[in-house]
């Protein structure tokens, strides 16, 4: 493993990071607008609609920011662990970048001109301009190209290292790419065969419930596509930062395989209160959903195992002594630690949401908004922040100064405070019934709705204060990003250089079958077939007359 990756690969990664943070800048600004509109603190000008803002917030943060950052991380890590990309792989990576970016630009443009206020979930029969769907399709195609390039790089490494298990980073990258490709089949199917022909007027109607089901077949593994790269940092970067090796190579690989298997055939848990799907299939998919608890518990175990091992090695005694020996002053560590911490209530909330009947209580309330801001919005995002602090100086060959580290601390702490305020308020408001995806409304001063504006914490004001702190934190991060890209002092000697922290992983005892991809892909498709074939056939065979398109904004 080389200390520094080659220049062309660094350039690729940096371009991905630039787009990621451009999306982050705009997206978080829109988030700020949202919290103020919702508490009646701000009225948008006539030419801008709340739902247009919300569509852009969802697309730019949940899709664009995450995806570009993930590819930047993958590209750097794959180049580091498997060696420089060959010219072909590099070309395809640029091509993927180009296509994804063209897709992003088209979709964003359609949102800006008000032709696509359909939110990032684009539920039919709300009908956006056909080019919005084309933009989304190109986005996916671009990520596929980049994904193929990474797989190609891996395959050529395998060819020259026969009979060897791949490095853990590469294994995890490939797992994530496989998950992503299988997941995308659903959204590609609905966009290509349902939305595009319908939006361009080649067919008149659309099968709405089918499109929802295909979307959610994609929608849930999408969240694992965000989460797994964060887990990679938890499994691989954290041990290095605390000075130990990976807790268990085989368990880490097994966990990732289980995530592939159990994050796809489960989309119905987003449709628990939808008509048209029988209770039996909803329950079956709920049960499969809960299986991801197993790899999640394995991950939690190895993380705490890592912490304890490190703390004890440094002389921590007693039951909890190790805790105080962790490198709290290292912002690369602390950021990710806080990110993990947020995932405890985040994961628990997820179990609540997926609990079949319980879903009725919270479905589409602000609770859900609170939930995903403490899953993707913090555990994932803050892990990415923690990676950013060293990844950019690593790629630009600069020194990470004390001042920037201090700023980074302020940044993650303000993000945490803002998020605790905003998401707690949202969770409680949700339990009181306040709906998500709504501009300000007092519902004709109905007493029930008035409660949502008068509570102590359960209040739209608390949410706005939290949102403001978050925005401040986001801007600080943008400053750190720009500073690290252009202004940090250059590292002259090798010793000054920021490293890519990646822990050793002993794979002597790791069983070979864990890397038998065709086996896992086969099992994955079998599970998908069991969970989806019959209910989807039902939706097609018993379809009601389809729906025309509606433009309701």
């Amino acid at each position: 493993m080389k200390a520094m990756i080659c220049k062309q690969d660094r350039k690729l990664a940096i371009y991905h990071i630039l787009i990621a943070y451009l999306a982050f800048l705009i997206g978080t600004f829109l988030g700020l607008l949202q919290v103020f509109i919702r508490n009646d603190g701000l009225e948008l000008p006539k030419w801008l609609d709340y739902y247009q803002v919300l569509t852009a917030h969802g697309v730019l943060l949940a899709l664009v920011f995450t995806t570009y950052f993930i590819f930047a991380f993958f590209i750097t890590g794959m180049s580091k662990t498997l060696g420089d990309f060959g010219p072909k792989a590099r070309l395809v990576l640029w091509l993927g970048f180009l296509v994804t970016t063209i897709g992003t630009v088209i979709a964003t443009f359609m949102i800006i001109i008000g032709e696509a206020s359909v939110l990032y979930t684009f539920y039919a029969p709300l009908q956006a301009n056909g080019w919005y769907y084309v933009g989304l399709a190109l986005f996916i195609v671009g990520t596929w190209l980049s994904g193929f390039a990474l797989v190609g790089h891996y395959v050529s490494w395998k060819k020259s290292n026969r009979k060897q298990l791949s490095p853990l980073f590469a294994f995890m990258t490939i797992s994530t790419i496989i998950l992503w490709k299988i997941a995308c089949l659903g959204v590609v199917a609905t966009v290509l065969f349902q939305f595009i022909p319908w939006a361009f007027g080649w067919v008149d109607t659309i099968n709405v419930e089918l499109s929802r089901s295909l979307f959610w077949y994609f929608g849930h593994p999408l969240v694992y596509f965000w989460l797994l790269p964060a887990y990679m940092a938890w499994y691989l970067v954290i041990p290095k930062l605390v000075g130990v090796e990976v807790f268990s190579d085989s368990l880490a690989r097994l966990a990732f395989i289980l995530f592939i298997l159990f994050s796809i055939p489960v989309g119905f848990h987003h449709q628990l209160v939808d008509p048209g799907i029988s209770s039996f299939w909803k329950f079956l998919q709920t049960s499969l959903t809960f299986m991801v608890i197993i790899p999640s518990l394995m991950t939690a175990f190895s993380l705490f195992g890592t912490f304890e091992r490190s703390g004890r090695r440094k002389g921590g005694r007693g039951l909890f002594g190790w805790f105080f020996k962790l490198p709290w002053k290292d912002v690369r560590f602390t950021s990710i630690f806080i990110a993990m911490f947020f995932f405890i209530p985040g994961g628990a909330g997820g179990i609540i949401n997926a609990s079949f009947q319980l879903n009725e209580l919270i479905h589409n309330t602000l609770w859900v908004v609170g939930h995903f801001h403490i899953t993707v919005g913090t555990p994932v995002t803050m892990t990415f922040m923690g990676i950013t602090f060293w990844l950019i100086p690593y790629l630009t060959g600069r020194k990470l100064t004390k001042t920037i580290q201090k700023l980074a601390f302020i940044q993650i702490i303000t993000w945490s405070i803002g998020m605790v305020l905003m998401s707690t308020a949202q969770h409680i408001l949700g339990l009181l019934g306040a709906p998500r995806r709504t501009a300000y409304s007092a519902y004709n001063n109905h007493p029930t709705a008035m409660e949502w504006f008068n509570g102590l914490i359960s209040n739209h004001i608390t949410m706005a204060i939290g949102g403001t702190i978050l925005f401040f934190s986001a801007m600080l991060l943008i400053f750190i990003v720009i500073y690290s890209l252009f202004l940090l002092p250059k590292a002259d000697s090798l010793g000054d250089r920021v490293e890519f922290p990646i822990a050793m992983s002993d794979n002597k005892d790791t069983p070979k079958f864990l890397e038998n991809w065709w086996l896992w892909i086969g099992i994955s498709f079998a599970l998908i077939a069991i969970a989806y074939t019959i209910p989807l056939m039902d939706l097609i065979q018993h379809a009601p007359p389809g729906s025309k398109g509606f433009k309701m904004w």
């Binding site: 709300l126 939808d274 299986m291 175990f301 709504t438 729906s547």
Partner: protein, 156 residues
């Protein structure tokens, strides 16, 4: 593959809780009929007003203890938008949409369902107390989404 002894205990405990959770949910669903919203009937979304029960939307008494409430959702309201039902009786809500996807959500109750054009959503609920309940749409349906509301009066 090596599992640490503590990890076996931890996973064993996890899997045990998992089975317990799922059994509770499953028994409650299939043993006591606590299903989330469903409804497998379909309807032509362009002929809602000609199709029973939506040709005469509103409250209908089925027998002594059961009432049916048929509601049409459309951007941005419900019809009828002011209904009265008795407390303590089983109310079967049947809701469909004439245009886009909406929700039919009675705040402070378990009635919270997606309303998808072409499908008839169904949920049975028994109000435990009287009062005025707010009904709103919590699935984005257009510019006026946040004005989409109705009221249900629960009386003795």
């Amino acid at each position: 593959m090596h599992f640490h002894r503590y990890e076996k205990i931890w996973l064993g405990f996890g899997i045990f809780s998992l089975v317990l959770f799922l059994s509770i949910v499953g028994v409650s669903a299939f043993g006591f009929n606590h299903h989330p919203t469903g409804g497998l009937d379909t309807i032509d979304p362009e002929k809602v007003e000609e199709t029973p029960p939506f040709d005469q939307p509103g409250v209908k008494r089925l027998d002594e203890n059961t009432y049916e409430v048929a509601i049409i959702a459309e951007a941005f309201g419900y019809s009828p938008n002011n209904i009265e039902v008795p407390v303590g009786k089983e109310i079967i809500f049947r809701v469909t949409s004439k245009d886009v996807t909406h929700s039919f959500s009675i705040i402070n109750t378990n009635v919270n369902m997606m309303v998808v054009p072409g499908q008839i959503s169904e949920k049975s609920y028994t109000f435990k107390k009287t009062g005025d309940f707010l009904i709103l749409c919590n699935e984005y349906c257009g510019t006026g989404h946040h004005y989409m509301q109705a009221e249900i009066k629960v009386v003795e």
